[in-house]
């Protein structure tokens, strides 16, 4: 019993959709009347699961529904799931910002949460004053902050500006100072929401290092939410996979990340289009698939991907070309590919564009597709019709995945290289 830091039991959270303020008074009265008669909340029973893409009948949704899990002392738990899975709600309840609708969480030890860096920073105050204010907001006493003050300033690297109001800081300095304060918190349980996505690459590395320090060397319990699978794998020992407000899986971090990547939850990778009338041919579907023909959105670096283009031909066409182009996250066209001109008779056709040896760096790539005659006369041209996401994964066990760092350029392949003596 004593080695458990957090125990979550049947936790649920109900949210009301629509605008708060319309009809809240009558609902409040209804609720109150129900509670007077000892009945359950009349609105809680009508709640639906939080599938935000389809419109439900009820104004109430369960953002979290019957969540159960335990976190052991010293465990570093990565919480993952797509947007809207309930990660932030869970963190908010854990950090006591909002109360659960039902269920409870039992905690051993003090919790500090970092849902945002620099909460409570006041632009008019100096860096020094803000360190004290922010530290106190996060739960440190004045004496604690004073004893760590030098370390904080040192970590942030803004010593020269420490007596300048933070409104004069560059946004980078601001964020560094803010993170520095939180980095020196010493609670038994630390809750971190994607705050690492701040600062430059060097500072991010420093932050990750500090997080690792907190969890490994100090043996603290950490709950970490991120979409950055590389960071999650580096830091966490176990994972919690949330989907639509329920726990899909809770086990070691590697299987969880695999599951997350394999789980096809994005629709941007498969686009179905209405056939155009009055055209000799039209594109009806654009898909990103993997080698097994499964639709994928997130592709680990090194995994093969295929852009599959389905089009419908209504009249006999001679010399038609289907082509695709790929645009990098930084908005640079990196390649175009086309199939040799062919003659088509009416029917439905597919073109597949397979990734070759070129490895793209992590990021979101957009796809445009076109049908044309001889590559010059356009029949149909669609920009940004689909997208896929290349994600960095650090993995040693799986030999099919090459280990690359995320920040080394657009193309990751090594050039051919020789080193030889010249004298």
């Amino acid at each position: 019993m004593s080695d458990i830091a957090i125990k979550v039991e049947n936790l649920s959270k109900l949210y009301r959709l629509g605008e708060v303020g319309t009809g809240t008074m009558s609902q409040d009265l209804n609720r109150w009347w129900a509670s007077v008669r000892g009945k359950e909340d009349p609105f809680a029973t009508v709640g639906e699961t939080n599938d935000r893409t389809s419109k439900g009948n009820s104004d109430f949704v369960w953002s979290l529904k019957d969540i159960n899990f335990e976190v052991k002392k010293g465990e570093v738990l990565g919480i993952i799931g797509r947007n809207g899975a309930g990660k932030s709600t869970l963190l908010k309840i854990l950090s006591k910002i909002t109360a659960p609708t039902t269920g409870k969480i039992k905690v051993n030890g003090r919790i500090a949460s970092l849902l945002e860096v620099g909460t409570g920073f006041h632009p008019e105050l100096t860096g020094r004053e803000n360190i004290f204010l922010n530290g106190a907001i996060l739960g440190m006493t004045k004496t604690e902050i004073r004893s760590k003050f030098d370390e904080i300033v040192d970590f942030s690297g803004v010593e020269r500006y420490i007596d300048t109001p933070v409104k004069r800081y560059s946004s980078g300095m601001y964020v560094r100072l803010a993170f520095a304060v939180s980095a020196f918190l010493e609670p038994e349980v630390l809750i971190v929401d994607e705050v690492l996505a701040v600062g430059d690459a060097e500072f991010q590395k420093k932050c990750l290092g500090r997080m690792k320090d907190v969890s490994v060397n100090d043996g603290r319990t950490v709950l970490f939410v991120s979409h950055n699978m590389a960071a999650i794998q580096k830091l966490c020992t176990s994972g919690l996979f949330l989907q639509n407000g329920t726990v899909l899986a809770n086990e070691g971090i590697d299987p969880i990340v695999d599951m997350y990547l394999a789980n096809n939850f994005y629709n941007g990778n498969s686009v179905i289009l209405e056939p155009k009338t009055g055209q000799s041919a039209s594109i009806i579907k654009v898909e990103i698939i993997d080698e097994d023909g499964e639709s994928v959105y997130e592709i680990a670096i090194g995994k093969k991907w295929i852009v599959k283009l389905t089009f419908q031909v209504d009249k006999v066409i001679k010399g038609m070309v289907s082509s695709i182009g790929i645009v990098s996250p930084a908005d640079i066209s990196i390649c175009t590919s086309w199939q040799e001109p062919m003659d088509f008779v009416p029917g439905v056709y597919c073109s597949e564009f397979k990734q070759n040896d070129v490895q793209f760096a992590a990021g979101k790539y957009r796809v445009f597709v076109a049908l044309s005659i001889g590559g010059t006369q356009n029949i149909q041209f669609l920009e940004d019709v689909a997208s896929f996401n290349i994600i960095p994964v650090i993995k040693s066990a799986d030999a099919t995945v090459v280990s690359y760092d995320a920040s080394t350029g657009i193309v990751l392949n090594q050039l051919q290289m020789v080193t030889y003596p010249v004298c």
Binding site: V20, K92, I97, K106, E129
Partner: protein, 300 residues
């Protein structure tokens, strides 16, 4: 779907575990005991309260040339306005006292009450962004408002004191201070706690019904006219006198004025009424505030 049923089925099981529950340092659950006010938590965060107070001051007067002198200017200008409008144009009675010192005694007291009340009443709305990101005992916020307004009051009181001393030493101005001056700290504390209690009740309600914030600004203005700030209580006779007497601020303003200026009336009964009112409102306010703070982020 039937979460509630599931929960009910598991309750006996939880009951068996209950002895072990005591080993937890904290249990987060939908509702806590009404009287579990978390005051120990507030005490642990006392440094934060003082830092908030400091922040209020520093941020208000940074980049102003006159700085804290603005604390003097505001009541001074109000007093001058009152002397002109209520004293010379409307010719309201001041019980034969010098107008400046009469109005200032009322304004100094009233400003503290009104400022604290309006500031605390929007505490959730104003700090929603911060409250939505990090937990600290929410009570620290209204407490810091009460304290920072107390500092402001002290400065304004200093100004009043100077003017009062001037008239006292000048003599022949009808000012007769008495031993009730010793009650001043009690009056100030009562007033601070009363505005805190009322402010907390309003702050809890304004998270959902923002109309109340508008209403309150207007209400505080009206309440000033139902308090003997710009007129002496003695000038109110007739059947609506009870309205003025029912106002718990009346006896505080009257006592303060009676103690320093010797005019007006003093009654232990009315003062006790104000004290009782304050205690009830403060307890009620704290309970309501604590209830709302748990999930206000969903509705604010």
């Amino acid at each position: 779907m039937d979460t509630i049923n599931v929960l009910e089925k598991q309750q006996p099981l939880q009951a068996e575990n209950s002895p072990q529950d005591e080993t937890w340092t904290e249990v987060i659950q939908p509702r806590t005991n009404l009287l579990d006010l978390g005051l120990a938590d507030v005490w642990r965060y006392r440094d934060l309260v003082m830092l908030f107070v400091r922040r209020d001051f520093v941020s208000t007067y940074k980049q102003t040339v006159l700085g804290p002198i603005w604390f003097f200017i505001q009541p001074l200008l109000t007093t001058i306005t009152y002397v002109i409008i209520f004293g010379n144009v409307a010719k309201l009675s001041t019980d034969g006292l010098p107008q400046a010192v009469f109005y200032m005694s009322g304004i100094t007291i009233w400003n503290y009450f009104a400022q604290t009340l309006t500031n605390t009443s929007t505490v959730f709305r104003d700090n929603a962004a911060m409250f939505g990101k990090v937990y600290f005992p929410r009570l620290t916020m209204p407490l810091s408002i009460v304290i920072s307004n107390l500092v402001r009051f002290a400065i304004q009181f200093g100004l009043f004191f100077a003017i009062w001393l001037y008239y006292l030493l000048k003599g022949n101005s009808g000012i007769h201070p008495n031993w009730l001056i010793l009650l001043t700290p009690l009056l100030v504390v009562t007033m601070g706690l009363m505005s805190l209690g009322l402010g907390m009740i309003f702050s809890a309600l304004t998270t959902k019904y923002r109309d109340l914030a508008m209403l309150l600004v207007f209400g505080v203005q009206l309440l000033m006219y139902a308090t003997p700030v710009i007129y002496p209580l003695s000038s109110i006779t007739g059947k609506y006198r009870w309205v003025i007497l029912a106002n718990p601020m009346t006896s505080i303003v009257e006592t303060f004025r009676y103690a320093f200026l010797g005019s007006g009336s003093f009654s232990w009964t009315y003062l006790a009424y104000s004290l009782g009112f304050t205690v009830v409102i403060l307890i009620l306010g704290t309970i309501i505030f604590n209830r709302v703070q748990k999930s206000f982020t969903d509705t604010v």
